[in-house]
């Protein structure tokens, strides 16, 4: 792998950064330009991640070996420099992120990007942070990308302003700063024991850690893990999540669906590298804790879904259920289960994102007054207040039969989230249950996981049916609200991706199984980083 292809690995980070730098040079009056720039960047990011996915899957006929590809930043050899690694898992997460980025940004063009300044710049910075977190192979660099994505998310949570958003974001920011401090403590403890921050190098050294240092290392890993678990929204560290996501503007919440998955990804990555079978005394660290905490999260999320009084609350608690399912499955482990949980991760993230996008048009139908009042009240009287009143007409074609489209999309979302056949949500849940039954001895925790997964699906179905009848079937006095094509297209696109996931479930599962096998035996990852050739050298 040579030349420009090598540099493709760093593109998901550098491209949005450059575009943001250009965007900052223009003020809000050049909104059309920013829209074109932002949207074309997200399209380019999708293309790049698809290419990276193609690359790591391996194509012998094109001379590309399957396996992880490593990019040495500044051409410093690993483990002294920072490395970016793209392997099957990170390539998949990149593609998922950038798909959500594209659909959410497209949706935001309907009007949301006008309710505050610098929406596009913050949005792309968030994408850059998430992409970086998926690509990096260094724990401290991971912290930096976490901070990039968090800083951008603080701005996006506040986007549109209003008392509720400000109050929710105050909690969100305070919690995340505290979490970042835990992250730093964990990193420092791991460094003090092993003397390295490179993930692959850590994996090699962890088996050699002395018995008396193991406690220190495991405490460090546990503190680090808590930082990611807060992001993933594990019970009892999850009370902020539904409230914050409900307060965010819909396209922002739709993108935030990937943020809880960043925590899951890191836990999956680190438990594969650091606490896999080959890591001596530290092997299988905290797996039981993950299982019980995951189960508790699902139960909490299910109760939350049943008691939610608005659809955004349902969606927020569904994010918790999804995180809990993934964490419990990571804790139980096993190759087949890992493949199934990856499929579930993709399917549930797409479905939640689509739900967040469809909630607003559906609820707008029910009461139009509230929504309009909620969005455009700038707090800061800065130079952009004029820009808000410049152009208030709806953009795009207004579609008749609003209710039919919304209802169809809503039912589609409900089926996906509840995991009913024939959609991809069902395939994902079926794969998880099937993998749990494949174990020679089915542990009590596996039975509990199966039970709560099924119950959470039922609860989701009840809540969605109740909300659907209430919002869509109740006769309204006034005519249905207008729905623009710009809002329908991204929802349709996300649901179409879910359909593709269902139709192409065979090849998708094959890819996930390959990913799970690579996670189970991380030697390929460790060797790829350790032997990464510097510029101009030939790979050994």
């Amino acid at each position: 792998m040579t030349g420009w292809i090598q540099h493709l690995i760093v593109a998901p980070i550098v491209l949005p950064l450059i575009v943001v730098a250009i965007m900052l040079a223009f003020d809000e009056r050049r909104r059309e330009l920013k829209r074109v720039l932002g949207l074309s960047t997200t399209v380019a990011l999708i293309a790049i991640s698809a290419l990276l996915l193609w690359l790591v899957a391996g194509h012998p006929e094109a001379g590309i070996e399957p396996g992880p590809h490593v990019y040495l930043l500044g051409d410093w050899p690993a483990p002294f420099g920072i490395v970016l690694v793209v392997d099957r898992l990170s390539a998949m997460m990149l593609l998922l992120t950038n798909l959500l980025g594209f659909t959410s940004l497209f949706y935001a063009l309907a009007r949301w990007d006008r309710s505050g300044p610098r929406f596009h710049a913050l949005f792309l910075l968030l994408l850059m942070g998430v992409n970086g977190a998926f690509l990096t192979g260094d724990i401290f660099n991971l912290f930096v990308f976490f901070e990039v994505l968090l800083a951008a998310s603080y701005g996006l949570i506040l986007h549109g302003s209003g008392a509720m958003r400000t109050s929710a974001s105050l909690h969100y920011i305070a919690i995340n700063i505290a979490t970042s401090l835990l992250f730093l403590i964990g990193v420092a403890m791991i460094y003090s024991v092993t003397g390295t921050l490179n993930m692959a190098d850590l994996a090699g050294r962890i088996a050699a850690v002395a018995r008396e240092d193991l406690v220190l290392l495991e405490s460090g890993a546990a503190i680090l893990g808590v930082a990611f678990l807060v992001k993933a929204g594990i019970w009892p560290l999850s009370f902020w999540l539904p409230r914050t996501y409900a307060a965010a503007a819909p396209p922002v919440a739709a993108l935030f669906a990937i943020m809880s998955k960043v925590g899951i990804y890191i836990i999956l990555r680190l438990s594969s590298l650091l606490f896999g079978d080959g890591s001596g005394g530290a092997a299988g660290f905290a797996d039981q804790w993950l299982v019980y905490a995951g189960l508790a999260t699902i139960v909490f999320g299910t109760i939350g879904i049943l008691s939610a009084r608005s659809l955004t609350q349902v969606a927020g608690h569904y994010v918790l259920v999804s995180s809990g399912t993934l964490l419990a499955a990571i804790g139980i482990g096993g190759q087949a289960l890992t493949a199934a949980l990856l499929f579930y991760l993709v399917s549930s993230t797409l479905a939640v994102s689509a739900l967040y996008l469809i909630i607003e048009p559906v609820e707008r139908n029910a009461d139009e007054e509230d929504m309009i009042a909620g969005i455009a009240e700038p707090v800061f009287d800065d130079e952009y207040t004029g820009a808000l009143e410049e152009d208030e007409s709806e953009i795009g074609v207004v579609i008749p039969g609003t209710i039919a489209i919304l209802g169809g999309g809503f039912i589609f979302c409900a089926l996906l989230l509840a995991g009913l056949p024939p959609l991809s949500g069902f395939i994902a849940k079926f794969a998880i249950v099937d993998a749990l039954f494949q174990a020679p001895v089915i542990a009590p925790t596996s039975w509990m996981l199966i039970a709560v997964v099924v119950c959470s699906g039922l609860a989701t179905l009840i809540a969605m049916t109740r909300a659907g009848i209430d919002l869509l079937w109740t006769p309204a006095d006034d005519a249905p609200a207008r729905l623009s094509l710009i809002e329908v297209a991204p929802i349709g696109f996300l649901l179409a991706v879910c359909l593709a996931l269902m139709v192409g479930a065979g090849p998708m599962m094959a890819y996930m199984e390959g990913t799970a096998a690579a996670l189970r035996d991380p030697a390929g990852y460790i060797d790829a980083v350790g032997q990464a050739p510097r510029f101009g050298e030939v790979a050994p």
Partner: protein, 114 residues
Amino acid sequence: MEIVLSLAIGILTASGLWLLFRPRTFQVILGLSLLSYAVNLFIVAAGRLRTDAPPIVGKDTPADPALYADPLPQALVLTAIVISFATTALLLVVLLASRGLTGTDHVDGEEDDS
């Protein structure tokens, strides 16, 4: 030196945590700042405490690791300081916005009457 540093970290953490759980937004911010100082000191300690040891290899001195302090934690601390400074500044702005919108400096945006 170890006992002084660990006492400093301990006191900063304890005060920071206490302030973090107070109901006023300004106390929360002070708490977070104190906690970040504690964490910065902690990172320095993670690279082992050395006095009179430079972190950079000189031109004429031998490249023997025993003569030098670990430069990596110092680089990490610099990054951590910058990031926590920036996020604290942002939190201050949000604090002011929240105070302006809700009329109270309670973290929940409403006074607890009970």
